[in-house]
Subunit: 265 residues, 4 copies
Amino acid sequence: MTAQQGFFYPRTSTGRAALIPAPPWYYSGDLLTVEYRTDPARVAELLPAPLELADEDPGAVALIWADWQSCSASREELLDPVRAQYKEAFVVVRCSYQGRTYSRCVYIWVDKDFAVARGIHQGYPKKLGSIWQTRPHPFSQAAPQIAAGAKFGATLAAGDRRLAEVVLTLTAESETNGFVNANPMAHHRILPNIARGAAGDAFAELIETGASEVQAGQAWRGEADLRLFEAPTEELARLEVHEIIGGYYRQVGVVWDGGTSLKML
Amino acid sequence: MTAQQGFFYPRTSTGRAALIPAPPWYYSGDLLTVEYRTDPARVAELLPAPLELADEDPGAVALIWADWQSCSASREELLDPVRAQYKEAFVVVRCSYQGRTYSRCVYIWVDKDFAVARGIHQGYPKKLGSIWQTRPHPFSQAAPQIAAGAKFGATLAAGDRRLAEVVLTLTAESETNGFVNANPMAHHRILPNIARGAAGDAFAELIETGASEVQAGQAWRGEADLRLFEAPTEELARLEVHEIIGGYYRQVGVVWDGGTSLKML
Amino acid sequence: MTAQQGFFYPRTSTGRAALIPAPPWYYSGDLLTVEYRTDPARVAELLPAPLELADEDPGAVALIWADWQSCSASREELLDPVRAQYKEAFVVVRCSYQGRTYSRCVYIWVDKDFAVARGIHQGYPKKLGSIWQTRPHPFSQAAPQIAAGAKFGATLAAGDRRLAEVVLTLTAESETNGFVNANPMAHHRILPNIARGAAGDAFAELIETGASEVQAGQAWRGEADLRLFEAPTEELARLEVHEIIGGYYRQVGVVWDGGTSLKML
Amino acid sequence: MTAQQGFFYPRTSTGRAALIPAPPWYYSGDLLTVEYRTDPARVAELLPAPLELADEDPGAVALIWADWQSCSASREELLDPVRAQYKEAFVVVRCSYQGRTYSRCVYIWVDKDFAVARGIHQGYPKKLGSIWQTRPHPFSQAAPQIAAGAKFGATLAAGDRRLAEVVLTLTAESETNGFVNANPMAHHRILPNIARGAAGDAFAELIETGASEVQAGQAWRGEADLRLFEAPTEELARLEVHEIIGGYYRQVGVVWDGGTSLKML
C-alpha cells in the first residue's frame, strides 16, 4: 500500500486533495470585538471539568467578528482566493485550569469548509454561518476609515436566522482590543465513541493553543450597540448582555503553528 | 461545573446548540450511482495500511449522488427543513481487511454543516461542495419519472470548479443499484497531533460502519455518460474512467446508528 | 453588425449566453399554500391605481412556497440541474380591474438568477431569499407522504433574517388548493427613468398573465401554523395574520407561455 | 388606492421593502483590470445596431473584477453589511455611436440581488456568479500590499463552472487603470414583449451612463496571466485572448446618479 499524505481528510498518496495543509497557517484580517458581562453562572455552564470559572471578572464575554484572508506557507491559496477568504464570528470566555487563566471559544461560526476543518483540529466548536462586517476603505463614498467617529456594523446568522448584530462607533485609540481573548486558549478536541449507544468519547483532549506570532495595528475602542437573538438550535442569547465592557477594532496579522496537549480526558 | 450535554460541538449544559444530535440518524432520499473501473493502482493509493486491495475487481469505483432529507429521532428537523435537506456526492472503492471485503468512501462533498459533522464522526472525508441531481416528479412538464427512458443529470463542483457530471438514461429494472457500496464501510477517524511539527495523529481509529436499517424501492439501471474534471485541490480525476460498469437509480430510506471500532492505529 | 439573439440579457450573436430562453417555460413542483385574512387596508396599500380591492374577501392573502424544477422546450436544463431547480415563496392578494377579479403577487423571493429574470419579464417583484420546504418521499425514515397526518414545514429568509415559517398538518383531501392565487394575475412591469432625479418610470405596463397549461394532483388541506417576522427591509409582516383560512398541499405541472398587455401606464 | 413608493420592485405604500433605493448610489472598492485584444469580429457580434465598432483598437476588451461596498445616501446599508458588500466581474468593450466612442458592458456577474436590480436599471446584463479577488491588507501574513511585486488573484464562476481566472503581479505605478472602460457607457435597457410568441421588445432604450463622481488612488500596472474557460451557457471564452494589453489595480470611490436616454429603439 502507498504511504498516505495529507494533514487532514481526505488523505491520498500525494496529499494534494487534503482539505487543509499542515500548519503553520497564516492570517491577515480585521477584528471587531465587543466585550460584555453576563451572569457568571451562564459562563460556568460552558466549562466542563476540570475547567473552572476565572477568578476575576468571571462573567466577561467577548463576541468577536473577523474578516480573514488566510493561507499556508506556500501562499498559493492567496491566488485562488475562494480558498483563502473567510469570515467568522466567535464567542470567547475565560476559565481557570491548574491556577492559570485561559481564554476559551465556546461558540463559533465560519463560512468556509477549510475553516471548519482547522477548527476540528484546534478544538473550536465550529458551525457554518453567514457573517458580515463593514470594511474600512481609503475612499469614503461607501466605507468608514479607522478613525474617531467611524461606524462599523457586524452581523451573524445561521440556519436562516439572525443571531447577533452590533454597531460599533469608534471613539479613541486604545491600548488593547480587549482582555477576554488575550489569554492562551484552553480547548477540547473530541470524537464521540463510534459504538451504538455508547456514552462518552473515543477521544477527548484538553489542549492549549494560541498564535505563534501576532502583529497588530493601532487598536481603537468605541461605543457598541449589541443585540443577541433567540434561535431554537443556538444558545448564544443565553449569554445575556448585562453590561457592555467595550467595543474594539484592530487589524492584525497572525501565524498559528500548533499547540500543547494539556490532558487526555 | 455543570455537566456537559451535546453529542458533538458545541457542548453546553442543555445540549440544544450541538451541531448534531446523538444517533440514530434517519434518511430518506434518492441515489444516483455510476460504477466504473479504473487502474487498481489508483485505488491502492487511497488505502492506508492495514487495508489492501479487494481480491475481485479491485479497480471498481462507485460515484454516488444522493439527495437527502435527514433527521434525528425527534423528527423536529423535518419541520425546519434548512436543518434536514442536503445533497452529497461521494466516491466509494472496495478494500480488504483481515480477509473481509469492505467498502470505503475515499472522497465526499456535502452542502450542509451538520452533514460535515456527521462525517467527522463516521470517518467520511467530507468537504463542502455544490451538488445537483435531477429530481423525479409525478408531472412531466419539467421532470422525469423513474421509468425506462428517463434521463437524470447530476453534477458536482467545489471551490468554484466543476469536478464531475453524469447523465443517466434508465433502461430497465435492476436487482441492485451496484456492488461497490454494498459492503460494510471501513473508515478511518483521525485527529492530527496538536503539537507543533509533530508527525502523526493524536487519534486514529479504523472503524466498521453501515446502515442499521435500509428500505429500498425498485432499483433501475441505465446508460451512464460520466465526465471527471481536473482541479488543483482535488484528485477525483486521478481515478480515471477506464470502463463504465453501470448506472443505477434507487429511492431509499436508511437509519444509521453507530459502528464498530476495528483497530486503534 | 450582427443580429442579436437572446430573449433577455446578455444578447449575443448566438443567444447561447442569455440568462433565460424564450418561453414557453415548463415547471414541475410542489406547492404549499397558506391562506389567511389580513386588514383589507393593508392589501389596498399594495394596489396601485387603476387596481382596486376585490369585491369579496378583500383582505384574503395567500403565502405560497414552491419547490420547482423548470426548463425550456429543449429540456436541456434538466440534465444540468443547477440550471433547473429553484425554490420560491410568494405572497398573492386579489384585486379588481375593469370589473374583473385578478390575483396579484405583491412579494416574492427566489433562489436562482434565472428565476429573477423570468420575474422581471412577468412582473413578479423578485428578490433573492433562502426558501426551504419539507419534501415528501416514498420512504418515511425522514419524510412525510402526502396523506392525512403528514406534517410539512416551510421557511423563508432574506438578508440573513427569517421572514416567515409555517407548519402544515394535512387533514383531508380538498377540491382546491386555495382561491387567492386562482385568478389570472395582474402585474406591473416597470423600468424607472434613467435620468437623474426624474420621477416616474420610463416604462410601466399592466399585464395579465397566468399558466397556459396546468396539471394538478390531488389537493390536500390541513391545519396551518403560520408566523411572520419583522425585518427592516421587508413589509411582509405588515400583512398581519388576522384569521387563517386554510392550508393546502398540491403537486403540479405548469407551462407558462406569455401574457397580455392590459394597459401602458 | 394608496400612492406607491419604491424605486424598484416591490413597490409599497412606504417604499421600505424596495430592493433598491433611488439613486444616487455610492461605492467604495478595489478594481482589478485586465485588458487584452481579441478578434474585432467577436466584439462586433456583441454590438446591436446602431452601435458600431470603435475606430481605434476595436478588438480591445477589459475584464474587470471589483470588490465593492455600496450604499444609498442614508448609508444605512453600511451598518447591515450583507446589504452593502458585493463582488462582480464584468467584460467591457468599446463601440461607436453617432461618431462618439462609448464603453459597453457585454457580460457581468454579481453576487447579490440588489446589484442585479441596479443592473436592470442601468442596462448591465447581470447574472449571478461567484467572484473572488485577493484583498490587500496592512499585514503581510496572508495578504499583499499594493506595491511592486504584489500578486493578486481573481476568479469568476457561474453555474458551478469556473469561467475565468487571472493572476496579476504589480510592477509599477501607472497613470491609468486602462482605457477600455474609460468612456461613457452605451447600454441597452430592455423588456421583451409579454405576448405569446411575439418577437421584439416592449421596451428598448439606448442610454448613456457613467459615474457622476470618481475618486481614485494611485493606479498600478502589472503582468497579467489570464485564462478563460468554456461553458455551455456562457460565451466569455469566445472573446479569445490574442494579446494582453495590460493588467491594473486601483482603489476607487464612485457615485452613480442616473444617465441619459439616447434613443428609444
